[in-house]
Amino acid sequence: MGKWRKKIQVVILLAVFVIGGYAIGTALFGEERTGQIKPGQQPPEFKLADLEGGVHQLSDYAGQPVIVNFWGTFCPPCVKEMPEFERQYEKWKDKGLVVLAINLSEDTLTVNNFVKQFDLSYPILRDVNRKTEKQYGLRSYPTTFFVKADGSLMEAKVGGMTEEEINERVERLLQL
């Protein structure tokens, strides 16, 4: 009897620990279904094509600091940022900085015409049907996600930035 009692106690407490731990754990660390991702969280994975048809995944750049920028030709502050990101990318790419500029589901001609005006060397990715922007919980444009080399979000910046503001964040991103 005594042995059984001990066993039942341990089994039940273990079950409580596992089930309860799972339930509380998902409540604590679970991704929020709505809203923008927050610093410290893992940004959602995406798999998008660039202008040449090459496929880029966020996880391709694991271990490197990544700037994920959502932009559209219809958004003047986004447009203004594009050459700034280019200069920052040129400045820091030797340190491993990656810039992924995700277009906000515009059509091919629009994006191509836009990109032609600039000489951009970082990949321009094409979101389809606003899927990725929804995953990222975007509320307004531009929004830029600074992802640390360990894969967690350092900051989600809503709105346009000056080049100094980008530079300051990149330095923080690279320092670690």
Binding site: I8, A27, T73
Partner: protein, 557 residues
Amino acid sequence: MIALENTKCECGHQNAVGTVLCESCGKPLDKELQNADTPLEMRYDGVARRSQKSNPNIIDRIWNFFSSVKIAIYLIVITFLTAMLGTIYPQENTFISNSFDPSVYYEQTYGLTGKIYYMLGLTRTYESWWFIGLLVMIGTSLVICSLDRVLPLYRALNKQQIRKHLSFILRQKTVFKHKLEEDSEAWTESFGEALKKKGYKVHRDGDALLAEKNRFSRWGPYINHIGLILFLLAVLARSIPGWQVDTYISVPDGDTVQIPDTNYYLKNEKFTVEFYKEEELPEQLRGQNRAKLFETKAVLYKCVDDCADEPGAKPVLEEVKRHDIIVNDPLVYKGLKLYQFDFNLTPRLNAVHPVLVDKRTGEIYGPFHLPMKDAELVHELGPFTLKLDANYMEFAIGEDGKPTTLSREPNAPAFVFIVQGPGLAPEGEPYIYFPMLKDKERFAQDTINRELADKIEIRVDGMENVDFSEATTHLNVRVDRAVPYLWIGAVISMIGLLMGSYWQHRRIWLRVDDGELSLGAHTNKNWYGMRSDVAAALKKTGISAEPKSLDNGGNNA
């Protein structure tokens, strides 16, 4: 190991620590209780709770914590109170707009208290770790409290001693004493027969008797708890991915969209809204738009091939269900439910089928298909070639004087073609085309196109060449796999409740010592019924006793 208290009864039975009444003969073990003459506390038949031990270790201590009914009540009360806190302001998940920002909303709407409410995390009360934690603790307490009580009770009721100690019998709340004139065994026999007729199970040991009825009602609370535990597990299971979905999709007429995080796609073939006519409305509602019908002709598709999230992949869809969704009549397919939620009557231009007119000859070429998004880049129309050079969804002239777009919705679409053909420059001449008449006038299409406007024209002949979505339907997507388990849990819990409420466990003990009959009876409720059972059986054996006279005090209902 030294036992802290002597738990051996005078009848020779070794009882567990915490036992109140000897498990065998029923004699009170506690000295103080032995000397009192109040009716005995019969809860759990006086057996020890399973976890009561003289030297508890850490596991025992955790176990004992949850085994306490007092703790369980505290947990339930705390849960109630915190659940109430969650109802003060609307919870975050009741807002569906993507632009809803809780960190701003609560302060703006409710001021400082709203800000504090948000800071405390009460805007997500029911998803918070501590609320889930409380539920888990209640669940644990339910399991452990029940187990600790039901097992000893089961054992106690399963091997009951028929001959009980006199102090046990005479300290019940229903007691009868009588001097028998006839043979004690024969009387006991006939009394037993009388009880059998009343539905009692009768056990005899010479001139001692134990009669028992409806023992199963004792298991009611535990069955109730099993149901509640199942209910609680089902609630917790909702956090398993895919178990609970509550999202919204917007589908313009004619579009097919993927239902997020599923393999399903939904096509809105047509959304219809009908309003009541003036004469159909009562006086006081006239002049208002009162909806009569919202209907989405919906088709549900399942992706069968190329479903992976590869860029450029075109999923192969297979129709699985077709349903006209109206309010309270959702499309239901394998646990997936799509409810009519809202609509938007802003039309959206999808495509036009314009023709090219050579104004000099009057010749008409086309029509050609020109969707607002991702149109073909080259159109061959008779001797003319149209090369699409640029397109704008909401045309405007930017600060730098260059054409730009203000949004990505086709609110004021414009197309710039390079036109090659007879009488035109060999490298082609630019021609801007506004499919919507209002834009054509607003931006002075003919002025921009200058002399080319005199040579050619791109225009749409008739509404049949315009493809647009009249409306957008908003649907609520719901999946709740926990519901069947919630029902099962609720039914089991209700069965347990009924078992415990509508039946009572009644027991009668008696013994005859030298012709002196001592009878005690116990039930968990309805003492009136208990006493009348005893009185009726006594009457059958020729002893008349008023049911009321059997009352031995105590808190009898």
